[in-house]
Symmetry: C2
Subunit: 548 residues, 2 copies
């Protein structure tokens, strides 16, 4: 799992950056310098060009060269590339405590777009938001046997409160099944109280030893859904419904062609009977578990005594589910679509969908260009498109092109004096580099421009999904023997093959190849199959891959 | 501060409810029973009446009496009344750890409405959302002298992570100034990086000894804004801007006529130069500090070395602000507008603005009534009004009226067979009880009904504000001597009088009367004034009151 991580980077991320000298050293060693006068932390801010022009005369730190950022090529070192993008695009930064992360405005805006979409879907499917306390009595965690086994190694514990040693240690929630069940037990009386379907947006803490921004951090943000039902069938239907919501979100919003399926017993969530997952192929072909939905059966309801009186007056334990997507998904977007130029954001989740760069040289050109820019901005904004104007005169247009490409903005509109006279603009696509992605002479006329931009954004959204899908499909190999599986994994690919062997065989594969069963995909080939390991009949194919 | 709290209630809330017997005992002792088949935790859920009718025949727990809830009269015991409302309206529940609170869907929906409004205002005023880790190295808290003094008694500390004792204890954030400054120091280089204006929606932890749902809990939800500026003047302007955002929110959305002003030195935030506040008068005439905005000066920037290079190339410390509103505000809404019937929600923040209760007796009336109900619901929903239909046949209309009045829904629409034939509805206002608040024969015609309902919602919003304003104004007494002040406070009122005395005098008043200076209001009377305590000239009047 940590095999691809360079020791230097890992240990740097693991180092506290409390002293400024250390923090500076870290930057010198491996992280690229920040562009000097980029508006750190406030991408929405717009500096008045007049004021800025004044200031510029007195400022000695103006950088006018085209590039002052360095992004390690993806092919050279995928992990370094990933960290460079996070740093250069100002998505996140290291927190002072080992393994923690500060999500910066541009990164947080992507998370907000994810929240906005999912929050609506959760409500449409009958869930209500609420909030549970994050401190859980330690004894709760111990109640469900496999849950405590899975989570106890990575707990953060509060032992002192208000200056006093606590009688019982408190767990900072790693997930909330236990406290949810404690409360459900008080709220659920009869079948009339069911189904009980809730969700919370919250922070959770897991004391991970190997961390990586967005992908695995000590604290992360997520939503966790929790439901209770009268029957197993209803819980199963709910678990499937929610993995379906996640799948649609991944395809339609994030342009990530995840493979949805069921986890193997070995990889099932601690406390669940079944775990459904969406697995995404990153640019280095490692798998990312991007969302999960669990059928918890009666495991927690039995541990916590969560019962209801059924229609016949009998007491029964409820059947439950839980499901979650986290800020990890932001990492998945970076590693699915990014390239050597930087981030590439799917239009539907991009905080800025269109950046407008006005171009002028002489003072008398400026007014015309700025008026046109402002009118184009208003036109697009009124049509619900997220627009940003970069009219600072601190930077050349070339520098700005590179900067906003690095930030992954799907479309760039350039407006110069000649465009103003012809009443047109130049539009460049982030996903198609150079002249091929550039169209000249698009009319500024409101209805034409809006339709054209919307059409392009849709096209980019589709293109990103198509590209990722064909990348994924080129890198999944159908295998029918363990040798073929090993060969595929050693080439860095995913192996798909029939599987009906024992848990021990699965663990052996992990040990010998580093790959695990990512899932038994919902979409299964027809026909009879023989297990790649044992040759015995197998009902399903499984996907094996190295993963984050 | 704890004077009005009954010992029994306080200690009960302070007791862990981990064992079911304890939890049950608590209910028997002081908390009202929950209505038996009310849809706990899923107010949005709609049970199909057909299915429910079937179930009803087999169910023995149907309660058909008009009242099965008890709300202690406000005048009898304000605190018990408050807890009864929170329990009956299913706003919140006790968490398993002493002093923690579970925010239930109906309570959380009020918080979501608060978030929705403020989040837009924060962005409009140039702030970006982001997220800081909640674990702060203990050494950070010690860096700002008055900050550590203010917060160290109420810290929760993580001392064990991943099974190991930590080298440095971690503070679970009580507020984020320290970690924010640690990061700002890395992001701010020159005046070009300023102003830096961010906000985060987060949970915070303060180890309070005396807790009360929403008002003061170990963990609560809030937003905290943090900004850095080049000048004192700019920081001051920002601090004032944000208290103004809060003031408008309180008046226009929550219908709470807060008094905005400046805190006394004694009451200023630990680490701030100036604290601005909005103070609200609750139904028991105690003051609630409902939001604060701090001008932090250079206190944190000096402690953390947060510097920028100014236009002349000189290094300077940044000037900062922070400002926050929390889930405490939900408590403020309950205690401002609620009455003996239950909650009363301002229409602009109500999760349900209109509840429709269909009324029928014979089976042949049902279809007509249900069709009309459904069409009225669609009409109102399409107009952006938040509507809920209560068509369960488990309960009588009378029971439903009481229930939704208790939940504080601003308007109720009744539709019976006679209304169907006349194409009209009956509308009842929550804020005007009985026949006086009831209007018959409002046309179901789409345009008429929508305009009527919207007009009524606006009127209720204004009426709640007017009522609260006149209550407030009747309970503020202008005083010119300490004797008059004592008299006003002993009557439970707020005292407003000229003040220029020493901090020691202020503390003496607190000791002798229980009242503190809530603020020096922005709105000040004209003319020369003499300090109520010393007789010396005073520039301002202050407001004194007992507070939560």
């Amino acid at each position: 799992m940590g095999a691809l991580r360079l020791p230097s980077l890992t240990s740097l991320f693991a180092t506290s950056a409390r002293s400024p000298s250390l923090s500076r050293r870290r930057h010198h060693l491996c992280l690229p310098l920040r562009p000097l006068s980029v508006q750190s932390g406030t991408p929405e801010k717009e500096i008045s060009p007049e004021l800025d022009g004044l200031k510029a005369n007195q400022n000695t730190r103006i950088v006018d060269k085209e590039k002052d950022r360095v992004i390690t090529p993806r092919s050279q070192d995928f992990n370094a590339w990933y960290l460079d993008i996070i740093s250069n695009a100002e998505l996140a930064d290291y927190g002072p405590v080992r393994g923690t992360m500060v999500i910066r405005p541009y990164g947080y805006a992507i998370w907000e777009a994810i929240q906005e979409y999912l929050n609506v879907k959760f409500k449409e499917t009958g869930h209500s938001n609420m909030y549970f306390p994050q401190f859980i009595p330690y004894s709760f965690i111990e109640k469900e046997a496999s849950h405590v086994e899975g989570f106890s190694p990575e707990l953060a514990l509060v032992t002192i409160g208000g200056g006093k040693e606590l009688e019982e240690k408190l767990v900072v929630r790693p997930t909330s099944e236990t406290i949810v069940n404690h409360m459900f037990t008080q709220w659920i009386h009869s079948y009339r109280d069911l189904p009980l379907m809730i969700n919370q947006w919250a922070n959770v803490t897991r004391w991970e030893m190997r961390t990586k921004p967005f992908i695995r951090t000590l604290e992360f943000l997520w939503q966790e859904g929790h439901t209770a039902h009268t029957t197993l069938e209803e819980a199963e239907k709910e678990a499937l419904q929610m993995i379906d919501v996640y799948t649609k979100f991944a395809y339609e919003q994030a342009a990530i062609p995840v493979i949805a399926g069921r986890k193997s017993r070995v990889e099932t969530f601690a406390g669940a009977n079944r775990t459904y997952t969406i697995e995404a192929m990153m640019g280095d072909r490692k798998a990312l578990q991007a969302g999960t939905s669990h059928n918890l059966g009666q495991n927690f309801s039995q541990a916590f005594g969560t019962q209801f009186t059924d229609e016949n007056g009998q007491r029964q334990h409820v059947w439950q589910t839980s499901w979650a997507i986290s800020t990890r998904f932001v990492g998945g977007i970076i590693m699915t679509h990014g390239d050597d130029t930087g981030l590439m954001l799917p239009p539907k989740l991009a905080p800025v969908q269109v950046v407008i760069v006005p171009i002028w040289k002489k003072a008398d050109e400026r007014t015309g260009v700025f008026n046109a820019t402002s009118s184009v901005k208003d036109t697009l904004q009124a049509a619900g498109i997220k627009v940003k104007v970069d009219d600072s005169d601190q930077r050349t247009p070339g520098w700005k092109y590179n900067f906003w490409e690095m930030k992954g903005v799907p479309l760039r509109i350039e407006i110069g004096p000649r465009d103003v006279s012809s009443g047109t603009v130049v539009i460049s696509r982030r996903d198609i580099p150079g002249k091929q992605g550039k169209v000249f002479g698009i009319s500024m006329d409101c209805s034409i421009l809006v339709a054209y931009v919307k059409g392009l954004l849709d096209e980019i959204q589709s293109c990103l999904l198509e590209r990722a899908t064909s990348f994924r499909d080129c890198n999944i190999v159908d295998v029918s023997s363990y040798d073929e599986l090993k060969e595929a994994i050693s080439q860095g690919k995913w192996a798909r093959g029939p599987w009906s062997a024992r848990d021990e065989d699965e663990l052996k594969i992990k040990e010998e190849t580093g790959a695990t069963i990512r899932c038994f995909p919902f979409e299964q080939p027809q026909g009879t199959k023989s297990c790649l390991m044992t040759g015995s009949p197998a009902e399903e194919v499984a996907i094996f891959a190295k993963s984050y």
